[in-house]
């Protein structure tokens, strides 16, 4: 009965989610490549999604999983949009460095 999966508690899932999220944040803040940064945000999404799924399982409630579906759908749409934008930005400046786009300073 004691499959490894059974011994997993909520904390494991949440921890996994948190680790994914924090890794995403760190990646977002430290990397300057636009595509990497975008991927990092995706990673943060996945962290949240894991937590949502875990809670859904815990409460035996579908709302969480519904949200997961939503988030994934939106993430897919967004990926298409964002990559398109990145391509446009790259065409403008021939670089993927985020530093190149800092005119929005006060």
């Amino acid at each position: 009965m004691d499959t490894p999966l059974d011994t997993l508690t909520l904390s494991h899932f949440l921890l996994t989610g948190a680790v994914l999220f924090v890794l995403g944040v760190i990646g977002f803040v430290t990397r300057r490549n636009l595509i990497i940064m975008f991927l990092c945000t995706e990673m943060m999404f996945q962290g949240v999604v894991v937590s949502l799924a875990a809670f859904s399982r815990l409460h035996l409630h579908v709302t969480g999983q519904t949200f997961v579906i939503f988030v994934l759908t939106i993430a897919a749409a967004e990926a298409a949009l964002a990559l398109g934008l990145v391509v446009l930005l790259f065409r403008r400046k021939r670089t993927l460095d985020a530093e190149a786009w800092s005119q929005m300073s006060g």
């Binding site: 977002f28 803040v29 940064m37 800092s102 005119q103 929005m104 300073s105 006060g106």
Partner: protein, 679 residues
């Protein structure tokens, strides 16, 4: 005639003003202005005469409602707020009637004269509209039932004076003179207005009859300071309007207006409004122990002061202007000596002879193309005999030539009253003022005849006027410009249209005196006695009649002033007719004094340096202050949000990661706070 008709008197003149205003708009109608004006003024005069017999004598003992019924004619309601009630209502007592006669009578005569005098002038209709408006406001002033309406008339005549002094408005000096007149008058009016506020504050009414009734009964509510100071405030208004020290400066400059205006407004009627007002409110003035002595002192001092200036002037109109100031001083002396009869009697006679003098001076100017300089005319009696005689009559009246002139009787009454008051009450002030008055009489006789002898006697010499009234661009079809074109040959007598009213005035200058002689000073005395100016003189008639030089005081005064007048005239005849060189030699002996008098004691310059200049500088400073300090402070306040924004903008680096980090930290902080709270 029923008293109700009296309310038409001002409004007929107002209608005349409107019609003249309409005449202004059309070139063809312009000529109609004079007949319209003369007609409306004549009608006002006629109405005054018809209404006069029905006017009741004023008795302060009557109850208020009966008093109002007997004297007040209400036209319509004007300002009712809370307890304040001021209507367009007219108060009629014998004093009003007397003033109405003067105002409408002299007004009509001057309008007839002006119809000829102003002929061909560009602003012909405007002139008559102004005259009609003036008569409207002046009759309103003398007929006002309440102080607010009196104030309306008071400021209204000031406006007309402003508009008519500035009649030749493209002449900068005329504009400046008009402005000066209005503003100096405003200073006086301010005092008057505050006086009215105070009267309302302590008497709780602005109705003149009511105020006089309360004051005569002596039970003025409120404090002593009200009793003492209200007259001083009113006095300020009177001094402004009647050109007394220290507010006289506008009147000489007012001579920039056309001569008929000077005659009507600045000699016969408007400037006497101050005397009228004090006479009207005499019971209020009596309440203050210092008020009437102050009035008398100012009057006496002004009389002498202006007479000395008149000695050394060369502009004929200005000589008469200073003489007007001086004569008004007499009137104030009379009123201040509690002889309202004297003051008003002199007002009455002065209206005739001073209007006559101004209008004859106008005739001379008319003949000489605007020449006003005494030094540039001589011997004109050969050219203008009638004018010479008419002006002679006026001069005799002004200098108080004994027995045959009106001025003699009225001036005498004032001086005798002052002396009587001084001697009977052992009040040296009035005695001194009477002596000052006598000295002034000497100067008056001298300067008056200096003018007459200079102008009309001696060799026939004259220089035509070369003044350019109007501007350099040739737009001006002004008085002198026009006349120069018509009469550039030589001076000649005026047509009868212009001389006829002068003859009437001359008759007045001779015979008006008889209205005020006799027991209780005749008709004038009776009028004043039955008016609000009536004061129950304490102990009058109880004491033995005063004597001077072994004669009855009045008789003695007549003798003295006769002598003085004749001495003055004789001296003038010697210096300015028989031996003109002597006058010059005499003047050369006192160059500084002559200079001081000719420059009018530098009062204008003093006022300019002490009041006008500093005020203007303060104005400039205020404007600088406004822009730099106040606006600066406001700008400083706007720096606060600006600074906050500036501080916050450092956070906006523009680096994407920076924003991400900030967001992350923020989120963390929030989460931590929640956790701490939960724990």
């Amino acid at each position: 005639m029923d008293l109700e008709w009296a309310k038409l008197i001002p409004w007929i003149a107002a209608l005349g003003a409107v019609l003249c205003g309409i005449c202004c708009m059309n070139r063809r109608l312009r000529k109609l202005a004079a007949p319209v004006c003369i007609g409306s003024l004549g009608l006002s005069f006629l109405l005054s005469v018809l209404v006069a017999p029905g006017v009741h004598r004023f008795d302060p003992q009557m109850p208020a409602d009966k008093l109002a019924k007997a004297h007040v004619v209400k036209a319509f309601e004007w300002i009712h707020v809370g307890g304040l009630k001021a209507d367009f209502a007219y108060f009629l007592d014998p004093l009003t009637v007397l003033m109405l006669f003067v105002v409408t009578g002299v007004g009509t005569l001057v309008a007839i004269y002006a119809a000829g005098y102003m002929k061909g002038d560009r602003g012909y209709a405007r002139f008559f509209a102004g005259i009609c408006l003036f008569i409207f406001t002046m009759t309103t002033l003398v007929m006002a039932d309440n102080l607010l309406l009196l104030y309306l008339g008071w400021e209204g005549v000031g406006l007309c004076s402003y508009l008519l002094i500035g009649y030749y408005y493209d002449k900068p000096s005329a504009v400046a003179a008009a402005k000066k007149a209005f503003i100096v008058n405003r200073v006086g009016d301010l005092g008057f207005a505050i006086g009215i506020f105070w009267i309302y504050f302590s008497y709780n009414t602005v109705s003149i009859s009511e105020v006089v009734r309360i004051a005569a009964a002596g039970d003025v509510p409120g404090t002593d300071s009200a009793k003492t100071w209200i007259p001083f405030l009113l006095m300020l208004g009177a001094f402004g309007k009647s050109a007394q020290l220290p507010l006289y400066v506008w009147l000489p400059d007012a001579m920039e207006g056309p001569t008929p205006v000077s005659a009507l407004i600045h000699a016969a009627t408007m400037v006497t409004a101050g005397v009228y007002m004090i006479a009207r409110l005499l019971p209020v003035f009596v309440l203050s122990p210092y008020a009437l002595p102050t009035v008398a002192t100012i009057g006496g001092v002004t009389a002498l002061f202006a007479a000395t200036i008149a000695l050394c002037q060369y502009d004929i109109k200005r000589i008469y202007a200073y003489s007007t100031i001086s004569q008004l001083g007499y009137m104030f002396l009379g009123v201040g000596a509690l002889s309202a009869v004297g003051g008003v009697f002199h007002l009455f006679t002065h209206a005739f002879f001073k209007a006559l003098l101004f209008l004859t001076a106008g005739s001379v100017m008319h003949a000489l193309a605007g020449q006003v300089d005494l030094r540039k005319m001589s011997g004109l009696r050969h050219k203008m005999p009638i004018t010479a005689i008419l002006m002679l009559i006026g001069c005799l009246a002004l200098s108080g030539f004994p027995f045959i002139t009106a001025g003699f009787y009225s001036k005498d009454l004032i001086l005798a009253s002052a002396l009587e008051k001084g001697l009977s009450e052992h009040n040296p002030l009035y005695t001194v003022l009477a002596v000052v008055g006598l000295l002034t009489a000497l100067l008056t006789a001298f300067y008056t005849f200096r003018l007459w002898f200079r102008v009309f006697t001696g060799p026939v010499e004259y220089e035509m006027g070369d003044q350019h009234h109007g501007d350099e661009h040739g737009h001006g079809h002004t008085e002198t410009g026009k006349i120069r074109v018509v009469h550039h040959h030589e001076p000649h007598e005026m047509p009868w249209l212009m001389n006829a009213p002068l003859v009437v005035l001359a008759l007045g200058a001779i015979f008006a005196g008889f209205f005020g002689v006799g027991e209780y000073h005749g008709w004038v005395g009776g009028s004043l006695d039955g008016s609000t100016a009536h004061i129950a003189a304490p102990g009058h008639g109880d004491t033995a009649p005063l004597t001077l030089l072994g004669m009855n005081l009045h008789t003695a005064m007549m003798v003295i002033s006769s002598v003085i007048a004749i001495v003055g005239i004789t001296a003038a005849a010697y210096y300015h007719w028989l031996n003109r060189a002597a006058a010059e030699q005499f003047a050369e002996r006192f160059p500084r004094l002559v200079r001081l008098l000719a420059d009018k004691y530098y009062v204008d310059e003093l006022y300019h340096a002490v009041i006008v200049k500093p005020l203007r500088v303060i104005g400039e400073l205020c404007y600088v202050f406004d822009r730099l300090v106040i606006d600066g402070l406001v700008s400083a306040v706007t720096l606060v949000p600006k600074g906050l924004g500036w501080a916050a903008k450092c956070a906006q680096t523009g680096a994407l990661q920076g924003y991400g980090l900030g967001m992350a930290i923020g989120a963390t902080v929030v989460v931590l706070l929640v956790i701490i709270k939960v724990l």
